[in-house]
Structure formats: C-alpha cells, structure tokens
C-alpha cells in the first residue's frame, strides 16, 4: 500500500529530469515502452468510458437491443428519481472523510514523531488489515455494533445514542441498519488510504522547524497550526481524495451495514440497475453523473489547495 503515499494529484506530472544519456537514444524508445500499457488502458479504460457515455444516451432493452438515440432524458429521469441517493452518497462520503481525517491525523503523527523504534510495527499494523478480505472485515462490524453488544449498550447508557438518534444518524436504539453504521464502515474501510499519504508528508517534515516555532514562543497549538499542519497539506489533500472518491462510489457498506433502501447510496442504485433491473442506459447515466461530479469536485479542490494554501 506504500504506493498510495506517492499518488500524484492530477496535472502534476513533474518527475525527475531524464538522465542526459537517455536523450541521445532513439526518440521512439519511450513510445515503445509505453505502447503495451497505454494500449491496454486505452482499450479497457478510455474505450469503456466512451461506451458508458454512449450507452447513457441509448434507448431500448436488453432483449430488443439498444439504439443510439441521444436520449438525454435518461439523465433527467435518473436524476429526478435518484437524487436522494446521489445527495446521500456525497453526504456520507463527506462525513466519513472528515472522520477519517480526524482519526488518521493523530495516528500518522504518532507513527511519524512518537513511535520511535515501534514506527515500522505501527506501519505494518496499518497495512496488515488489508490482507483479510474487506468484505469479511466489514461483516465484522455487524458483530461489533450488534444491538446488545458492549459498544451500543455503552452508547445508550451514556446517552450518546439518544443524541445521535435526535440528529437522525441512528434509530430505534440501535446502530446497525442506520446511517451511523454505514458511515462507521466507510470511515474504517478507507482509513489506511488517509493515513499513509498523511504519514508520508509528516515523515518528510523537518522537526527543527517545529522546534524553531517553539523557540520563537509559539505555543504547541500555534506551532501546529502555523507550521506542522500547513506542511502536511499535500498529505491531507491526497488522503482526502483517496478516501472521498472510493467512499462516494461505495455500495458495500450501505448494503452490509445499512438498511436498503433507507441508506442506499448511488453505488447501490447503479449496481441494481446494471445487474438486476438491466436498465443499462439509466445506470450508465448515473455512472457518468457520479464520475463528472467527482472530477469537478476534485479539480476544484486540488486547485484551491494548490493555489491558496500550498504556495
């Protein structure tokens, strides 16, 4: 999973300069190296995306065949029927991303600055859960959040459950089958994707900068706010993207931990329309919508983080 730490934000293709010797070699060499991989991506990533877009504008049925009719009403009818699921997806994914940041930041900070000789052990413990199927780990939350389990009973005794119920995150004195269960699952599932980029950027941070802030009479909180946090922003940006994007498209947590249709996310709708209802055009229209919304949000976010805070 160490690769996640190096995911470049879109548009920043700045790698190291090629060795001078490479320039002398034939101009066709890079294209030859690229060809197999890029042809694969063109055939099985770009072409399907185009097909998806074309499917979203077709009419017909699986039995009778589809026709390219540029039926834009596929979009409007899908939006008007499924806008609650779209809004819910981005809402849940947003809350889960904020929660994951709140949990992952102290974790990454501890690994980078406080773990000492246990640094590698903690890193392994962050990555190790990946080797158990994520479906099994998600199912385990059914046991952890069980109605008569320790956690739910404690929450009830402390009155937390009542507050959450008032906000609408839980219902009927239980956590399972409520939005809170889905958000807990999403936060949990994508936490390592938040932690690793954060750790990567905190690890690069020169601790002397924080010491210097302290020498200049900054309180620990000011030093964190003015030095540590701004320097970790690349990690925050990468981590929030790697959490938010998969969380917005996820339907596993909503299905296993939530209760359909009350907690259905847009992924559940796309999955059902594609695989059960076989309404390919409207399913494709929702997929395209999800993709476009995410691309727009990511582009805005990266630009903002890039121009205002990162410089």
């Amino acid at each position: 999973m160490s690769a996640l730490a190096h995911v470049p934000p879109p548009g920043t293709g700045a790698g190291p300069r090629p060795a001078p010797a490479a320039r002398a070699r034939g101009r066709w060499v890079p294209y030859l190296l690229l060809a197999p991989g890029l042809v694969w991506l063109a055939l099985f990533f770009i072409l399907p995306t185009i097909t998806l877009f074309s499917t979203s504008l077709q009419t017909g049925s699986l039995a009778a065949g589809y026709e390219q009719t540029f039926e834009f009403s596929n979009y409007t009818s899908a939006w008007s029927e499924y806008w609650p699921q779209l809004v819910r997806s981005f809402g849940y994914a947003g809350i889960a991303t904020v929660a994951a940041l709140a949990i992952a930041y102290p974790l990454a900070y501890t690994i980078a600055f406080k773990a000492g000789k246990y640094r590698n052990v903690m890193l392994v413990l962050v990555i190790a859960p990946f080797y158990t199927s994520f479906l099994l780990r998600t199912l385990a939350w059914k046991t952890i959040l069980a109605d008569n389990g320790i956690i739910v009973e404690t929450m009830e005794r402390l009155g937390i459950l009542q507050v959450l119920s008032y906000v609408g995150l839980t219902a009927d004195d239980r956590v399972l089958a409520t939005p809170l269960a889905v958000i807990t699952g999403l936060t949990y599932n994508f936490l390592p994707f938040m932690t690793l980029p954060l750790y990567a950027s905190l690890e690069r941070l020169d601790p002397r900068l924080v010491e210097a802030a302290g020498d200049l009479y900054a309180s620990p909180i000011t030093a964190f706010r003015k030095v540590t946090f701004p320097l970790s922003l690349p990690g925050v940006v990468a981590g929030t993207l790697l959490t938010f994007i998969p969380a917005a498209g996820d339907y596993i947590n909503a299905q296993l931990l939530g209760s359909l249709p009350a907690t259905a996310m847009i992924g559940n709708v796309i999955d059902a329309l594609f695989l059960r209802v076989l309404d390919y055009p409207r399913a494709a229209a929702l997929s395209v919508t999800l993709m476009v919304v995410i691309v727009v949000m990511v582009a805005t976010y990266v630009r903002r983080a890039g121009t205002e805070e990162l410089v």
């Binding site: 160490s2 470049p8 890029l38 770009i46 859960p129 994520f134 399913a283 993709m291």
Partner: protein, 283 residues
C-alpha cells in the same frame, strides 16, 4: 523577609507536583493515545474475524459467539464452492499481477527516464483509473463487453484486473526510480559498461525492490477486489464474491478461517522479513 525566600525555595517544586499527575500526563500523551486508539479501531475487525473462526455458530450466520470449536480450522474446505473460489482468486491474482507488472514497469521507465511529447497526458491517463470509483469502472467495462457481445468470465475478470492494477504498478515503480542515485549509473558508464550492461547490472537490481513492492500491492488489490469483479465475472465466483454471496445466505466460520489465515500469514511474512533484514544489517 528571610522566610518568604526559604518558602519559595522549599515550595518551588510544589506547583510542579500536580503537573506531573494524570492530567498533565494525559495532556502530554493525548496524541499518542489517539493514535493507539486509531490502531485499535483498525485492528478490531481483524480480531473479530479471527475469534469467530473458532466459533461454532448457532444457525447460518456467524455473527455472535456461541461455543469454541476447531471444526472450521480442521475442515476449511467443507463449505461447497469456497475453496474453488479461493483457487480462482489466487489464479487471477497471480496472472493479473504478472501482466500488470510487465506493462506498468515499462510505462514507469518511459515516464521517469525519457522526455517525450505527451508525457503530461500519459501521467494523467495513469492517474485517472485510481481516481475513478470502482462502480464506474466496473459498470463501464460491463457496458463495453455487452456492447461488443464479449462473453463474460475468466478472461473479462483478468482484463479488468490488469487494467486497474497497471496504474498502481506505474506509481510504485516510478517512485522507486525517482529515488535512485543517477551517479551509480554514471559510475558504471565511466567504468566502460555499455548501456545494456549498466541496465541489467545496476539499474534493474536497484529497481527490483520497487517492482516487488508493486507486485505485493497488486496481488493484494486483485485478490480482494469485489466491485469491478462482480460486474464482469459472468458465472465465475471469486473469493470476495463467495463472501458476498455468503453474507446473504449465511456465513460459515470457514470463511473466517481463510480471512484469519491470510492476516496471520501477512504479519508473519512482514515481521519475518524485518527480522531477517535486521540480522543481515547486523552481520
């Protein structure tokens, strides 16, 4: 006036005593405590999966503890179809990892060792699959296969896995290449090694750990993929698909045995290699 001085001397440490108390300790270590709690949050489901693998569940669902039993560990393949699905997942994991390693490593070399027209857009194309939700990638591939009447099955799973793994391989190997000291290659050239010898004797061995890391990552991602696979599997059933089906029909503890086994194996491999590395560094 002498008394206050004496007082200050004797009582000077006094205000520090409560600061060493539990409140002060908590304030000093609050971040580490939150960090450790986060690790607990991350590992709790793995503990539950492992504990429930020793359970003898009442009914079809293995969600609450009933009785200790070694049955599932003694007969892991007793559940119809599970070990076949495991075999399929391992096969697809290995094949797609090897293919993605070849394709991705070549792209990584092109991107970090060459300057060419279209480098920026290549970077963007490599980034895109990682930034696309799985449900979009899975459904768009299904739309492609349906439109071209391509039969779903082993082949389409393999195609899909190689597609989404390539980007992760490129990024991991590229990071390793970026960290290489170019002076090592220059030194080889200065010592009259030609380009080919330099590549196979210097560059490739140095990049190999990056390729190995990419391979481990790719295999884990392929083995655990559910969403994209579910769209393109046809009638094939991979291990995550088996678990998904089990979640609807009833989860036998054998499924937990596989989950626990993979987790313990991974820990063993990582800690084993760490111990070996330390021993090598010492000797």
């Amino acid at each position: 006036m002498a008394t206050p001085t004496v007082d200050t001397v004797t009582t000077a440490p006094a205000p520090r005593i409560p600061r060493r108390g539990p409140v002060r300790w908590l304030r000093d270590n609050i971040v580490a405590i939150a960090g450790i709690l986060a690790v607990v949050y991350l590992l709790l489901p793995n503990v539950v999966v492992t504990v429930l693998s020793f359970n003898d569940p009442v009914g079809r669902f293995n969600f609450s503890w009933n009785e200790f039993s070694l049955d599932a560990w003694a007969n892991p393949c007793a559940v119809a179809g599970m070990c076949a699905s495991l075999g399929l997942s391992l096969q697809i994991g290995l094949l797609s990892t090897v293919a993605a390693l070849v394709l991705g490593t070549l792209v990584a070399f092109a991107l970090s060792r060459h300057r060419f027209r279209g480098r920026g857009s290549t970077n963007l194309l490599v980034f895109f699959p990682m930034a696309t939700p799985e449900v979009v990638m899975g459904s768009s591939l299904l739309a492609l296969f349906v439109n071209f009447r391509f039969p779903l099955g082993f082949g389409t799973i393999l195609i899909a896995h190689i597609m989404f793994l390539v980007s992760y391989v490129v990024v991991t190997v590229k990071a390793r290449l970026a960290g290489l000291d170019p002076r090592l290659e220059q030194a080889a050239m200065d010592l009259y090694a030609n380009e080919r010898t330099t590549f196979w004797r210097i560059t490739f061995p140095l990049v190999l750990p990056g390729i190995a890391a990419a391979g481990l990552l790719a295999f884990a991602l392929s083995f655990d993929d559910f969403i994209i696979t579910n769209f393109n599997a046809g009638s094939e059933v991979t291990f995550p698909m088996f678990v998904w089906g089990a979640a609807q029909r009833g989860v036998p503890p054998q499924v937990n045995v596989i989950g626990a086994l993979m987790f313990l194996l991974a820990l063993l491999v990582v800690f084993g290699s760490e111990v070996a590395r330390r021993r090598r560094a010492r000797g």
